[in-house]
């Protein structure tokens, strides 16, 4: 009797049942409404940009794993997230060849050189975007109005630009609300900002859909809600103070919250688990820091938008936050630092 070989494992013998690939998959689900809205508002061009970014990221991940003799880690879904995030942060008529290059840089420089998933210091998608911003400053600030006639079948000349050629800018261009404010001091209607009837990067325009995606993940405990809350609160409070000081010079706090890439960055990029601190207190400090930098760059910096740099700086600060903020260990007097 009982002839089977016994299965041996060390305790604990049960698991909660959440897995890393499952978390990643749900992040992808949470971003799908943004992808759909991007296509609805910007048409086929946005779809091509996002698909290209995902394909490039996934292919790069697969190729690099093979090249280094490891089994492919594409199935953990993290490269898909990087690709979607990169696509969502690019202008809707961004040339595809540049997009493809961005995906390669995101995975290769942003993630692989650090040692792959879990070891990357920075959010890979933002590394890719920072590269694109440095390499192609004109293309990445060439905006396009949303909800144009014929957006579902006319492919922009810019999008289809031949690799390594300078894109031809189409006749129509539309400034983002942030650019308009920065250079012309024109503010947009808050409702338009919230629902996304504005110009901007493919996925950053609908604050409402971004928040819904964030709630979906937070409820499933797949995202640390403290991070977006800390970032948004900081931005709101700081810009609120500035607004009280002089509402002619400084934008309103609600404009600050709903414009540009802040929502997308706060909910989907700053929350990248790998690049954010590990303790509840640590993430609050991290979020507040990102919020501060966003306000500083947007108001006093030369650029209209500062979310990307703020998050990258936050990522850089993360190891130090984790080192300084450690919970007091049970039965010890003080936090040892």
């Amino acid at each position: 009797m009982f002839s089977k070989t016994l299965h041996i494992s060390t305790s604990p013998h049960i698991r909660q049942g959440m897995s890393t690939d499952m978390i990643m998959r749900h992040v992808v689900y949470a971003m799908m409404p943004l992808v759909i809205f991007a296509v609805v508002s910007f048409g086929i061009n946005a779809l091509l940009v996002i698909v290209t970014a995902v394909a490039s990221s996934v292919l790069t991940e697969h190729a690099l794993c093979r090249w280094s003799g490891k089994s492919s880690t594409v199935s953990d879904w993290s490269a898909v997230i990087t690709g979607i995030l990169l696509g969502l942060t690019l202008p809707p008529i961004f040339p595809l060849w540049m997009t493809f290059l961005g995906g390669i840089v995101s995975i290769a420089i942003g993630k692989f050189v650090f040692g792959g998933l879990g070891s990357n210091a920075f959010n890979p998608a933002l590394v890719g975007r920072a590269f694109l911003q440095a390499a192609f400053p004109v293309a990445i600030t060439t905006w396009h109005p949303s909800f144009l006639e014929g957006r579902f079948y006319s492919i922009s000349k810019s999008v289809a630009a031949f690799p390594f050629s300078t894109p031809v800018v189409d006749g129509i261009s539309g400034a983002t609300p942030l650019t308009a404010f920065k250079f012309d001091k024109v503010t947009a209607d808050t409702a338009d900002l919230a629902f996304g009837f504005i110009s901007g990067s493919t996925g950053e325009t609908s604050a409402v859909l971004i928040i819904l995606g964030g709630i979906y993940l937070a409820v499933r405990k797949m995202m640390n809600w403290r991070i977006p809350v800390a970032i948004l609160t900081t931005v709101f409070v700081l810009s609120g103070i500035l607004d009280l000081i002089d509402n002619q010079v400084y934008p309103s706090p609600q404009f600050m919250l709903f414009s540009g890439g802040l929502m997308l960055g706060a909910v989907f990029m700053a929350t990248d688990m790998v690049g954010s601190p590990i303790t509840p207190k640590g993430v609050v400090v991290y979020g507040a820091f990102i919020g501060l930098i966003v306000v500083v760059i947007r108001i006093w910096g030369g650029l209209p938008e500062g979310v990307m740099y703020a998050i990258l700086l936050g990522n850089a600060l993360t190891p130090h936050i984790d080192n300084l903020i450690r919970p007091r260990v049970y039965g010890t007097k003080k936090t040892k630092s």
Binding site: L6, S9, Q16, G118, M273, I278
Partner: protein, 465 residues
């Protein structure tokens, strides 16, 4: 719910109870899986024709055998005596004949000194009376000696000699005696049944424990999923005993001494210290019942209550099983499926997987959980740590398992111990339980602790040369 047996007579200086929260930081909520056995009364298990008794069933020195091969023994007879202070004796769990004295297999996979007994089939298995330890006249030292002589160890699973734990060091005072009826491990229901069925033994045991420790107040800590046991014990508290029953919210690992002290008293046991450093002594409820049952008769431990459960067994239940009963015999009796593929002793969070069915029940065995081939969880893929922080939110002593795991992989053992308090880890498994990347954190920590202890021992040895 709180009931005070001492009728309002409270010692105001030393009763800072944790009235606000009745819980501890962090922790996890694994599925309880107790409903299949928590209604089933304790039943006597049949006597196995062969008993295999290891001499090391406790933490400390193995017991010293005093019987010979071929000798006939009666149930309850002393077979091996305590080998020093940090040791306990072993008594015959059955009447029978010593077949041989040889190495026996134990759960760690090693072979240790032990005794094989052939059980007498037609014996009534009566237990002989010993010399009673009188509650009225015995001194604390005599009670501690009586507890050692009875072979009593912590029945919650750790099997630490109870008399050692109860010895109050010079200059320390036991303010609170905590009776641990938490049983936070999923599946296990032995303490639950003991509280429902052996209240009388528990209260007699508490009387012995009060005398031995000089405790001013006794708190029986019970988790909210055993409200019936709490109500039952509250009703039966003898009027002259300073006993309180305290129900605390269900959370793993509340049964750990340190966590329970925090839940009940709101104090933290200092790092590297013992409960007595915060004037508390914690004793498992089944151990307490055993003391109350054995000491008045001067007998030794022969059997214990064990929950046998899991999808792989037909006759699940709480059984009173003689120590030394071979696991294979136990599984046959409870109708274990032919294709069983995982068995562990203890609960699923801290229990140890069995590699060999020829090992036997020991004093520290609180449960046997059996899985068939069909219901064994798939081996999950291990991903890199994504620093999600789930382990940080789970660790009851606020360690950073993520960081410790990364350090363990790079063999940074000294940093782990000195900077990240690894040695405070008591291996509850909460971090591994929640880890979405399925990193075997506890396994890393167990190995790292072993390596650090070995290194420290070597250092001390060198220093002494």
């Amino acid at each position: 719910m709180q009931k005070n047996g001492s009728k309002g007579e409270k010692n105001s200086t030393d009763t800072v109870l944790n009235l606000q929260s009745h819980t501890f930081r962090h922790g996890v909520h694994p599925p309880e899986n107790k409903e299949e056995t928590n209604k089933l009364p304790i039943r006597q298990f049949p006597f196995s024709p062969l008993i295999i008794l290891p001499m090391q069933q406790h933490i400390g020195a193995p017991s010293r055998i005093i019987v010979k091969e071929g000798q006939e023994v009666v149930r309850g007879q002393l077979l091996a005596e305590a080998n020093g202070y940090m040791s306990v004796p072993v008594h015959a769990p059955v009447s029978g004949k010593i077949r041989k004295i040889a190495k026996v297999p134990v759960i760690s996979g090693q072979m240790t000194e032990g005794i094989y007994i052939e059980t007498f089939h037609y014996s009534g298995q009566e237990v002989n009376e010993g010399i009673p330890i009188s509650l009225d006249t015995a001194t604390p030292e005599q009670i501690l000696k009586g507890i050692q002589d009875a072979g009593i160890v912590g029945l919650g699973g750790a099997a630490f000699p109870t008399h050692v734990k109860l010895k109050i060091p010079e200059g320390k005072v036991c303010g609170h005696l905590i009776i641990n009826g938490i049983e936070c491990e999923p599946y296990l229901t032995t303490d639950h049944r003991v509280m429902l069925e052996q209240a009388n033994d528990i209260f007699i045991g508490i009387r012995y424990l009060i005398k031995a420790t000089g405790a001013k107040q006794v708190i029986i800590g019970i988790e909210g999923n055993k409200q019936d046991a709490a109500d039952h014990l509250s009703k039966l508290i003898p009027a002259d005993l300073p006993v309180t029953v305290q129900v605390v919210p269900v959370k793993y690992p509340q049964g750990a001494e340190k966590m329970l002290i925090t839940s009940l008293l709101g104090k933290e046991v200092p790092s590297g210290g013992l409960p007595i450093d915060v004037n508390a002594v914690v004793v498992n409820v089944a151990t307490t019942a055993e003391i109350g049952r054995l000491l008045p008769h001067g007998q030794g431990i022969q059997e214990r209550v064990i929950t046998i459960t899991g999808p792989g067994v037909k006759k699940k239940g709480n059984y009173l099983i003689p120590v030394g009963t071979p696991l294979r015999y136990v599984l046959e009796q409870v109708g274990a499926a032919e294709n069983i593929s995982e068995v562990y002793m203890g609960g699923p969070m801290m229990g140890v997987a069995v590699s060999n069915l020829d090992i036997s029940i020991v004093k520290g065995t609180s449960g046997i959980v059996v899985f068939g081939e069909d219901n064994i969880p798939k081996t999950e893929k291990i991903f890199p740590c994504i620093k999600c922080g789930a382990c940080v939110d789970a660790c009851p002593i606020s360690l950073n398992p993520s960081k410790l795991g990364i350090l363990a992989k790079s063999e940074g053992y000294d940093t782990m111990a000195e900077e990240f308090h690894l040695m405070d880890c008591f291996e509850c498994g909460s971090c591994s339980f929640v880890c979405p990347s399925n990193i075997p954190l506890v396994q890393y920590f167990r190995l790292s602790k072993g390596i650090i202890r070995k290194r420290n021992a070597e250092k001390t040895a060198k220093a002494n040369v």
